[in-house]
Amino acid sequence: MDLAYLVILAPLFAAAITALWGNRLGRKFTHSVTSASVFVALVVSSVLLYKVYILQQAPYYVQMFKWLAISDAIKITIGVHVAPLTTLMMVVVSAVSFCVHIFSIGYMEEDEGYNRFFTYIAFFTFSMLTLVAANNFLQLFIGWEAVGLSSYLLIGFWYSKPSATAASLKAFLVNRVGDMGLVLGVAAIFYTFNTFEFADIFSQIAGDGAQNDINFLGFMISPYEVIAILLFIGAMGKSAQFPLHVWLPDSMEGPTPISALIHAATMVTAGVFMVARLAPVYEQAEFARMFMLTIGTITAISMGFVAIFQYDIKRIVAYSTISQLGYMVIGLGASAYSASIFHLATHAFFKALMFLVAGSVILALHHKQDVRKMGGLRKKMPISFVCAVFAALALVGFPGTSGFFSKELIIEAVQHSGMGEVFYILAMFGVLLTSIYSFRFIFIVFFGKPRMSAEAYDHIHEPAKVVTIPLILLAIPSFLVGALMFNHLILNNALGVAALAQPDNPLAVSISEFSGWGDMLLAVVHHPIALILILVGCGIAWFITRSGEFAEHKSKSVKGILSNGYYLNEIYAVFVVQPVQVIALIAHKAFDNAFIDTVLVNGTAFVIEKSSRLLKKTQTGYVYHYLLAMFIFVVIFGWLAIRSGVTL
C-alpha cells in the first residue's frame, strides 16, 4: 500500500463522512475533518514530490482498481501517477485548498450551509487531485467532470439566489461545451493510439510518428492536430479561454473562498495542466499551437481591457484571472509548457491571495462588493492591504516577485517562438493592461477617501485570525516561490518536459543564457520594457482613480462595451440560447406534437375512424340495399369464376 493513495482518498473520505454525518457531528467536526484531510494530502503530496524530485526516483504509478477491461485489449484503471508534474500540481492544489479551508472557517462562519460547504470543498479537492493524478484519459476525465460538478455546486451554493443558480448552470453548461471537445479528443486519441494511457501514447509518438489521418468532416487531417485541437477545446472551457470564458465572471456568485480556490487557483488551470501533461502530443501539432497562441493572446488582451472597467471587486479579479489564464495558454502555444506550469503555480498562490483579500474586504464590508462603495481601507485593514499589494505586485510581474519570473518567461518564450512578432508585442501590451487593472484595484479599494457612510467606515475592522492567517500563508509563497521554482522547474527541467530538452525550444532558447534566478532578475536592467510598462500602468491607474468618482458607463460607449465584457453574454443569448429555445419549441410543438403525434399517429387513428364511419354508412337499414350489394357481388364473383373457368 503506497502512501499515494492517501492523496486522493483522504479528501474523499472526509467529504463522504461530512456528507453523511456532518450535520449530526457539528461544525467543528466538519471543518476539522476536512481541513485535516487536505493537510494530509498536502503532506503526502509534498513527500511524493520530495521523493520523485529531490530523491530522483523514477515516476511510478499506483493502481487503485481496475475500472474497466474490454476484450483484453483495453484496460482502464484508476490510480495515482507519481511524477514531478503531477506531484507539483498536487502540492499546489492541496496547499491552496488548505489555506482556503482555514480561511473559510472564518468566512463562512455565519452561513447556515457551513457543513455543506466544507463537504463540497473537500470533494472538490478530491476531484482536482484525481484529475491531476491521472495517468490515463479516463481518470482525467472523471476528475475533470467532478471538478465541474463541485464548481457547479459551489457557485450555486446559495441556491436561493436566482443569480447564483443561473451562474452555476451557465458555468456547467459552458464547461460542457468544452468537455464535448475533450471527449471527442479522447475518442480521437483512442482511434489513433488504441489506448487511453498517457505513457502508451507518448511511447507510440516517440516510436512511430506516422499515424493515419482522420477524416475530420471531410478533410483528412493529421491525427495530432485533430487530437490537439479537440483537447484544447476542452481546455478552453475549463480554463476559461475566449470565447468560452463567459462563465467565469458569473461564477463569482459563489462564496469568495470558492472563487479563490476553484476559479483562480486550481480548477481553471486544469486545462493548462492537461495540455502541459500532453506536451508530446502538442509538440506534433503545430497548427494547434498556433491556435492556442492566438486564443491565449486574444483572451489575455481582451479580458485585460475588460478588467479595467469593472466595479465589482470580485469581477475585477475574475477578469484578471481570465487574462492570466490567457498568458498560460500563450505559454503553451509557444511550447513553453514548463513556463505555463510555472505561471500556473505562482498564479495559484497570488491569485488565491488576491481573492482572499477581496474576500476579507467583502467580509469586512458585510458582503458588499461594489468598489465604488469602498476606498481608504488601508488604514482599517492593514494586513489585507499589505497582502493585496503583494498580490498585485506578483500579478503585474514586478521584478523579484514570483509573477515576474513566470510571466517574463512566457513573454520571452513567445519572442523566441517564431510565431510572429505581433504576439510578442501583444503579450507585452498585456503587461501594461495587467498593471493598470491591478493598481486600479489597489487604489480604488485601499486608497482615496472612503465612499461609504462614516458610521459604516468606523465599524470596519480586520477580520478574525482564521481569515488573516491564510492571507499571510499565501502571501509568502506569492512573493518568494518564484525564484525557487525558476531554478528547479525551468533550469533543472524538474517536470521532465521533453520539449524543453530540445535546443530549439523557445523556452530553452530564452533561458539559455541564465544560470540562476539572479541572472533573470538582472536581465531586467538590460530589458526594462516590462518594468517601464508596469510603472506606466501604475500611473495610468492612479490617473483614472484619482477623482474618486465613478460614473456608470454608458452602455453603447467603448467603456460600456468593455465593462460588459463585449456584450458576449447578450450575443450568446441572441445567437445561441434563443435559437436553441426556438428550435426546442419547434421540435416539440411543431414536429413532435403536431406532425408526428397529431398528423401521423392520431392522423392514422383519425383516418381509421373516418373510414369506419364511412364504411358504417353501408349498413343503411334498408334490406334492398343489402340485397343489391349481395347481388352485385354475386355478379362480380360469378364473373371472376367464369374468367378463371374459361382459361381452364
Partner: protein, 481 residues
Amino acid sequence: MEREIPVFMTLAPEISLLASAAIILLIDLFLKGKQKVISYWLSVIALLIAMIITVITQIAVDDVVLSGTYKVDIFGVVLKTTILFIVAGVFIYSRTYLEVRELLRGEFFILAIMGTLGMMILIAAHSLITIYLGIELLSLSMYAMVVYCREKHSSIESGIKYFIMGAVASGVLLFGMSLIYGVAGSLNIFEIREALLSTKPIPLAVPFGLVLMIIGVAFKFGAVPFHMWVPDVYHGSATVVGLYVGTAPKVAAFALAMRLLVEGFGAIHTQWADIFIVLAILSSVVGNLVAITQNNIKRMLGYSAVAHIGFILMGFVTGETDVTNGYLSSMFYVIVYSIMAAGAFGIVIFLSDRGFESGEIDDFKGLRSRNRWVAFIMLLIMLSMAGMPGTAGFYAKFLIIQSLVDANMIWLAILFVVFAVVGAFYYLRIIKCMYFDNAYKEALPDSRFEFRILLGVNGIVILGFGIFPDGVISLCKMALF
C-alpha cells in the same frame, strides 16, 4: 380402428336429441309458470346425453352411411361435441335472462335443439340434399328464435331481415348446387369429387356453381359482403339469441365449408381460393373498421365476428399443402372463437340479466368495481379476441398466420395482423370501460350458481387453451386426417 355398427346406431346422437326434443315438447305442454324450468333442465340434459352418445357411438367410426348422405367420422364427433357443449352453455347462460322476461318456455329450447340438430346434420352431411336440409333446419330455427324472443321491435326487424337475406342466399346456394348436380350427375359429395377428377377440362358450370355455393357458405359465415345480417341479428335480437346465433352456427358453417368445399372440391382448391381471399380481406377490413365506432356491445361483437370470420376464411385460402394445413388453423380458430363469443355474450347477458336490455358499451363502465370476477373474465375474453398470447385467441391467430407464412403469403399475413391491431382497439375500449372508467351504477347482483360456474369454466378454457393448446390442436389434427 374402424368398426361395423348398425346404421341405426350411427344416427344415435341425432335420434336421441330429436326424441328428447319431442319429449320436452310434450312435457312442456303440461308445465305452468315456474315449472317451465323443468324444460330448461331437460334440455340441458338432453344436450349432454346427445354429447355422450356422440362420443360413445361415433368415436372410432369412419363411415359413410345411408346411401352416402351421411358421414360419421372423428371430424364430426369433435365438432358435434363442441356444438352440443356450446349450446348447453348457451342454455345455462340464458336461464335467468329468459326467466325474468317470462320467455323461459319450451318453445325456445325446442327451437334451439332443432337448430342444434340442424347443425349436427350439417356436420355429418355428405350429400347436397342433407347439407341443404341441415342448413334450412338450422336457419328456420334461428329465424324463429330471433323473432320469438322479442322484447323490442328490433327483434322482429332483425328476424325479418335475416329471413329475407337468408332465403335469397339459400336460393343462390341451391342454384349453385343444381349446376353442380348437372355437371357431376350426383348429389353425393364423394361422387361429385370423383366426377370432377374424371372430367377434364372442368366445365364452366363448375366454377360458377361453386361460386354460387360459396356465396351461400359465406352468408352462413357472415363474411363480407354477405355479412349485413350479422350486426342486425346480434344487435336486434334478444341477447340470448345473439349468443346462440353467434357461437355454434359458426362451427356449423365451418363444417359446411369443409364438407361442401373441401371434401367436394378440394381438387380444384386454387379455383375458389381467390374468392376466399377477397372474402377474407373484405371481412377483416370491414369488420375491424366498422366495429371501432360501435356504441352497442352486441353490434360491436357482430362486427368483431365478421372480422374473426376473415381470419377463419384465411385458413381455407391456404388450404392443405405439404407444409401447412390451413383447415386445421381454421378449425382451431372457429372452435376457440365460438367459445370466446359465448363468454362475451354470457357477460352481456349477465349485465342485462335482471333488468333492462343492456347493450351499450357504456354499460360496462366500472365493471371492475361492480363485479371484479366478471370484469376479469371479460378482460380475458377481450384479450383473447385481440390475440394476446397466453389466451386461446393467440394460438388461433398464430396458426392462421403460420399457414399464411408457410404458404408464402406474407403480404396477406401483414395485412391481417395490421387489421388485428386495428381490431385490438375496440377490445381495448371494452377493457377501458371496465377498468379505467368510473362506475355509475351499483354493484351487480350475483347470478345463478350454474351461470357463475360456467362463466368460470369459460374463462379457464380460454386461458387453458391459451397455455396448453396442444390437446385441441391434436384433436383438430385427428379430426382432419
